[in-house]
C-alpha cells in the first residue's frame, strides 16, 4: 500500500480553511441592529405623580472626565425627541424657572481606552527573516529596542437623565429617577434620535403622568 501520509498537511490545511468560513457575528449586523437602548429607573419613584418637566437646552459633552456644553444637530434631535415623548406621556413642558417636577438633561459621553500592542515577538524573529550576512555583516546580531504600538478605542453614547425636582427640597438632594442610554453605530446621527427615544419610552411604560 502506497504511503499516503503526505496527504495529511493538505487535508489539515483544507480543514483550517473551512474553519475560516465560520460566521463572525458582528459582521452580520446592520448599524440599526448594532444599537442598544438601555433604561433604568428608581423603583421608589411614582412617575404618575409628576406633572411638569423642563429640558436643558444644551448638551453636556463628557469626554474622558472633562465636561463642556455643546449644541449640535444630533443634540437638538435628542432634546426634541424627549420633548415630544414626554408630552405624549402627559407631562407638561415648563420653563426651568417655573419649578418643574422633573429636570431632563441630555449628555453625550465619550470614553477612550488606550492599550499597547507588543511587537516583541516580531523583532525576536527578525534575524530569521534577514540574516545579517545579507547585509555583509555575517556573525553580527541585531539589537532592537523594545517596541510597542499604541492603540486607542473611543466609545460614544447618549445618556439621558431625569431628576426629581419635585421632592428635592424634602430629600435635600436631587435624585436621579430615570436614565436612558443609546449606544452603538450611528447614535450621534440626528436621524437616530427619534428611534432611540421611542425605544426608550416603549420599554418604560411607567413613564406616564396623570395630567
Amino acid at each position: 500500500m502506497k504511503n499516503k501520509i503526505w496527504l495529511v498537511p493538505g487535508i489539515i490545511g483544507s480543514l483550517l480553511f473551512l474553519a475560516g468560513c465560520s460566521k463572525e457575528p458582528l459582521q452580520n449586523l446592520t448599524p440599526e441592529e448594532s444599537r442598544i437602548y438601555t433604561t433604568s429607573y428608581d423603583s421608589s419613584a411614582n412617575f404618575q405623580t409628576y406633572k411638569t418637566f423642563s429640558i436643558a437646552d444644551s448638551v453636556a459633552v463628557i469626554d474622558n472626565g472633562t465636561v463642556v456644553k455643546e449644541h449640535s444637530a444630533s443634540d437638538d434631535a435628542y432634546i426634541n425627541a424627549m420633548y415630544n415623548m414626554m408630552q405624549q406621556r402627559g407631562y407638561l413642558l415648563v420653563d426651568k424657572n417655573q419649578s418643574p417636577d422633573i429636570a431632563i438633561a441630555v449628555n453625550r459621553v465619550y470614553n477612550t481606552t488606550t492599550g499597547l500592542f507588543d511587537y516583541g515577538d516580531y523583532w525576536d524573529y527578525y534575524g530569521g527573516y534577514w540574516d545579517p550576512y545579507y547585509w555583509g555583516y555575517g556573525g553580527y546580531g541585531y539589537n532592537v529596542p523594545y517596541v510597542f504600538g499604541v492603540y486607542q478605542i473611543t466609545e460614544g453614547l447618549y445618556s439621558i437623565d431625569m431628576f426629581d425636582l419635585k421632592n428635592a427640597t424634602g430629600n435635600h438632594e436631587i435624585n436621579l429617577i430615570w436614565n436612558g442610554l443609546a449606544r452603538g453605530a450611528g447614535v450621534f446621527s440626528n436621524t437616530t434620535a427619534n428611534e432611540a427615544v421611542d425605544a426608550m419610552f416603549a420599554q418604560s411604560p411607567y413613564l406616564k403622568s396623570t395630567n
Partner: protein, 213 residues
C-alpha cells in the same frame, strides 16, 4: 419530524441495498485510516431552547482510526462546528429595574477532541456496505459569545463531551479500502454555566475515508 424523515429515509434505503451488495472487502488489521467528514449539526435541549435553534452547516470532523480487527477500530477524533443565530430586536431585563432593547446574537463554536471507537458488526463478511456504531468521549473546547447589539462578551471553556453515533461505510476503488461514509452522532455536552444545562446536538455527517499506509 418530517425533516428527520427526509434525512433518514435515504439511510434506510442504503441499508436495504446493503443486502444485495456482494463486493468482497475486508478491513485490514493494523491499518491506519483517516476519516474526513462534512458536518451539519442540529442543537438539542437547552442549547436549542435557550440559545440557538437553527442548525449549523459550518462544520467538519476528522477521525484517525487504527483497525484493531475486522470489527473494531479505535483512535482519535477532532472536529469543529460553528453555530450562530441572530434574534430580532426585543427588550431584555438586564438588571434590577433595567431593560435593554437589542438585537441578540448568540454564537457557539465547539471543537471536540475525543478518543473514539467504532464497531462494525458485519466487518468480517466482506460486503461493500458496512453499517457501524461508534462512541467517543473527550474534551470540547467551547467558545460561547453573546452580543446585545454590538456589545457582548465571550466565555471560553473546556467541557466534557460524549458522543454516540451510527452510520454506513460504502467502500470503493480497486482495493476497497477507501470509501464514502454517512452517519449521525448524538453529542452530549454538559454546560453548567450562565444558567444553561447543556449544549447537546445531533450531528449529521458525510465524508470519505482512506488508509494512510
Amino acid at each position: 419530524m418530517k425533516r428527520y424523515a427526509k434525512i433518514f429515509f435515504p439511510l434506510i434505503m442504503v441499508f436495504a441495498f446493503a443486502n444485495f451488495a456482494n463486493a468482497q472487502t475486508k478491513a485490514k488489521e493494523g491499518e491506519l485510516k483517516l476519516h474526513l467528514n462534512y458536518n451539519y449539526a442540529i442543537p438539542l435541549g437547552d442549547f436549542k431552547n435557550e440559545l440557538i435553534s437553527n442548525g449549523s452547516a459550518r462544520g467538519f470532523s476528522g477521525d484517525l482510526l487504527y483497525q484493531i480487527n475486522p470489527k473494531w477500530a479505535a483512535g482519535i477524533s477532532a472536529g469543529y462546528q460553528d453555530f450562530v443565530q441572530k434574534y430580532p430586536r426585543a427588550v431584555y431585563e438586564t438588571g434590577s429595574h433595567e431593560s435593554t432593547s437589542a438585537v441578540l446574537t448568540n454564537s457557539v463554536e465547539i471543537s471536540p477532541f475525543m478518543a473514539k471507537g467504532i464497531f462494525t458488526p458485519m466487518g468480517g463478511n466482506g460486503k461493500m456496505l458496512q453499517p457501524y456504531i461508534s462512541a467517543g468521549a473527550g474534551v470540547n473546547m467551547l467558545n460561547f459569545r453573546q452580543y446585545l447589539g454590538e456589545f457582548g462578551g465571550a466565555d471560553n471553556s473546556a467541557t466534557f463531551i460524549a458522543q454516540a453515533g451510527a452510520g454506513l461505510n460504502l467502500a470503493f476503488g480497486k482495493t476497497k479500502e477507501s470509501g464514502f461514509s454517512i452517519g449521525a452522532d448524538y453529542n452530549y455536552v454538559p454546560y453548567q454555566r450562565n444558567g444553561f444545562g447543556n449544549m447537546n446536538s445531533l450531528g449529521l455527517h458525510a465524508g470519505l475515508y482512506f488508509p494512510l499506509k
